[in-house]
């Protein structure tokens, strides 16, 4: 077999890695959408915010330092201490839960039984808010995030696979971080799936999707459920943010992973957890392969930006209900 094939395989492997990340973010969407019918555009910004908070707490940044300086003409920036990663993660998690609480109190509660589009718009507003807020709180500059996961090509794999495709194949180049990310993501996804399948709360969440009465009959108030799902979404965002941030720095572009998750949703269906997982993998692999085979050589590259969408679009035209969505019978 020629080297190209192996490079192809390498691409697929990398695609799978990214795919898992996509699935992770997509899950955040699905959970919220299932439980509250809200299409949470802010998911990506939440990831960004989570990552920012993580860095900030880790490095002992003073929140709102810029603002404070601007208002009181001070020059404060750091507390001068740093926190161990685990603590920082824990704290940022609390932050995300708090955020979830506030969202429910201040936004969702007032928007019950509005049309979906309105709720969607609200989350866009939320995204705006959180983006500005995050930058006010932690500053807008690009930050390095180190959560103690080694970065760079994994030599062991590289050596182990070197020469498979003849002498001009130097073995699979796979970033260790991606490996870890993938592992964590897989764990998380499984956890979430188990959670929503086998715990009472999880069942409640799924019940809400079908109808609210059912949920109530399980004995959990709608509002609690919302807080829960938003917290989970926050948690997912934190993980995703941490991974992505560690990989390519904490910066605005991080919030765009939300946009990456959208086609995944279309593909998998807004309400299907397995759909999110499979869809993520398909998209991940698909866009990498497309770039490798067609994008880069013929279309001047950077096709990842849109390929996922085109794929989903074309797919939907033939199967409007998505991969795992059940067939829609129209009644009058």
């Amino acid at each position: 077999m020629s080297a190209d094939v192996y490079y192809g395989i390498e691409v697929v492997l990398n695609g799978l890695m990214t795919g898992v990340m996509y699935s992770l973010v997509a899950l955040g969407f699905v959970l919220i959408f299932k439980a509250s019918g809200v299409f949470n555009y802010a998911q990506g910004v939440m990831a960004l915010f989570a990552a920012q908070s993580l860095v900030g707490l880790q490095t002992g940044q003073i929140p709102f330092s810029h603002l404070i300086n601007a208002v009181f003409g001070l020059e404060v920036h750091h507390f001068g201490w740093t926190l161990p990663t685990v603590v920082a993660i824990a704290l940022s998690l609390c932050l995300m839960v708090l955020f979830a609480l506030l969202v429910e109190r201040l936004v969702l509660k007032h928007l019950v039984n509005q049309e979906p589009i309105i709720l969607f718009m609200a989350t866009i507003g939320l995204a705006y808010f959180l983006e500005g807020f995050g930058q006010l709180m932690w500053g807008a500059e690009i930050k390095r995030l180190d959560i103690g996961i080694p970065q760079g090509g994994n030599l062991w794999i590289e050596n182990a696979t070197a020469g498979l495709g003849g002498e001009d194949f130097f073995g699979f180049y796979i970033d260790t971080l991606d490996l870890y990310a993938a592992l964590i993501a897989i764990l998380l996804v499984t956890a979430l799936v188990l959670f929503s399948q086998y715990t009472r709360t999880g069942r409640a969440l799924r019940a809400v999707a079908d109808d609210h009465q059912a949920a109530l009959s399980v004995g959990i108030s709608l509002r609690t459920i919302w807080v829960i799902v938003w917290s989970i979404a926050g948690f997912v965002a934190l993980v995703a943010g941490a991974m992505w941030g560690a990989k390519s720095g904490v910066q605005f572009s991080l919030s765009l992973i939300a946009l990456k998750a959208l086609p995944v949703l279309m593909l998998g269906g807004f309400t299907s957890i397995p759909g999110a997982v499979v869809g993520g993998l398909i998209i991940g692999v698909g866009e990498k392969l497309f770039e490798f085979l067609i994008g880069a050589p013929f279309l001047g590259g950077a096709t990842e930006n849109w390929f996922a969408y085109m794929l989903a679009l074309v797919f939907l035209v033939f199967r409007p209900q998505g991969l795992f969505g059940e067939k829609i019978i129209e009644r009058v």
Binding site: A70, L106, I117, L126, F129, A140, T303, L316
Partner: protein, 374 residues
């Protein structure tokens, strides 16, 4: 309070169906037109035009367009930015002229140089090109509904932006990858390029905005508009009473894109002068326009203008306040702006989900029943 509508009776359906059935409104409207055309041009200075008036007019057109699609036909679109890009780039090509190939006698392709076209028509053609693209991307709407469609339109957004990034021909192979509006005149008066006078650019955009607003009103009051709204309110019932969904949705997409294309063309040619697709027509634009429509009021021509005004004025006001008055660093101001805009949008959706237009209608109603509370 100001309304004295006793004795205003209609003896024909024509007068009953007019846009402003109440005389007072009619007069107010005409007065505004008079001011807009005869007074404002003399008061304008560059700052006002650049900071407020032009963006207001241009975004109003975009908002009108999106409102036709989303507000009247119920098809949510997040692709406005991309469509504006199409308008801008095709307008640019028409302004600068390009080669077209037509089959010659012997069937071989013969190259003809298409000369630059007057900016007015370039803008129109830009709109038409966008309409075609819009229809193309509207096709999936026949199968895909609701959010799926909303997300699907993002495909257009990203694809088009990518396209104009990578396709050198579209920006005439300029090294910067930017497109720059050449100097063009209408009736001998510059409306694009480096040295334009405030009033000229203003009137140029005003004419577009006004005519397009009238057309929008006419389209939405007629049977086309009704078939759109029928689809919006209950597509199945609409089809059963005889609305052809294909026709309805595609016309909506086409016309909507036409508007958005024109606004994109104007934005680039008259307002920005030079544009790079990434930051000029990115997804943020899509959301901006969507905000305008939602905040202005879905399914309302007036709302499109109100929404545009709101979203244009808000940042300007904030900037003036924070940077101008409080003297903060611009970046902090920018962040704060994000926070405030976001909060305002949420607040708005909570307080008046039907937008400024509804607010306006309510106020009007209150004035009509004054002194009674309701």
């Amino acid at each position: 309070m100001f309304y004295r509508d006793v004795g205003e009776f209609k003896t024909s359906y024509r007068s009953d169906g007019q846009t402003f059935p109440i005389a007072l409104d009619r007069h107010a409207y005409h007065a505004m037109l008079g001011i807009a055309f005869l007074v404002v041009p003399f008061l304008l200075n560059d700052y006002w035009v650049k900071a407020i008036v032009l963006p207001f007019l241009i975004y109003s057109i975009a908002a009108l367009g999106l409102n036709i699609l989303t507000g009247y036909c119920g098809q949510v679109s997040l692709g406005s930015g991309g469509f504006m890009a199409v308008g801008a780039y095709s307008c640019y090509k028409f302004m600068t002229g390009f080669d077209i190939y037509l089959p010659g006698e012997a069937g071989e392709w013969v190259r003809h140089a298409l000369p630059p076209i007057n900016v007015f028509f370039s803008v129109l053609l830009g709109g038409i090109m966008t309409a075609l693209v819009g229809i193309l991307f509207g096709l999936p709407s026949l199968r895909i509904k609701g959010f799926y469609l909303a997300v699907a339109t993002l495909a257009a957004q990203f694809f088009l932006v990518w396209l104009f990034n990578t396709w050198e021909w579209s920006f005439n192979y300029s090294a910067s990858g930017q497109i720059t509006a050449p100097e063009r005149a209408v009736f001998g008066v510059n409306v694009t390029g480096p040295d334009t006078s405030a009033w000229a650019t203003y009137l140029f955009c005003l004419v577009f905005a006004l005519v397009l607003a009238l057309v929008a009103r006419n389209l939405t009051r007629g049977h086309l508009g009704r078939s759109w709204m029928a689809i919006r309110d209950m597509d199945i019932a609409a089809e059963i009473i005889g609305v052809n969904p294909l026709k309805a949705k595609l016309t909506a997409f086409g016309i909507s894109s036409f508007y958005i294309g024109i606004s994109g063309a104007l934005l680039f040619a008259v307002y920005l002068g030079a544009a790079e697709v990434g930051e000029a027509f990115g997804i943020q634009k899509s959301f901006l326009v969507l905000f305008m429509v939602i905040i202005g009021g879905l399914g309302s021509v007036l709302g499109s203008f109100l929404g545009a005004a709101f979203m244009v004025l808000l940042p300007v006001a904030l900037k003036n306040l924070l940077v101008g008055q409080l003297g903060w660093a611009t970046d902090i101001a920018a962040h704060l702006e994000f926070v405030i805009v976001g909060a305002l949008i949420i607040g708005f959706l909570i307080l008046e989900p039907h937008g400024l237009a509804r607010l306006w209608r309510t106020i009007k109603q209150k004035l009509r029943v004054w002194p009674f509370p309701h």
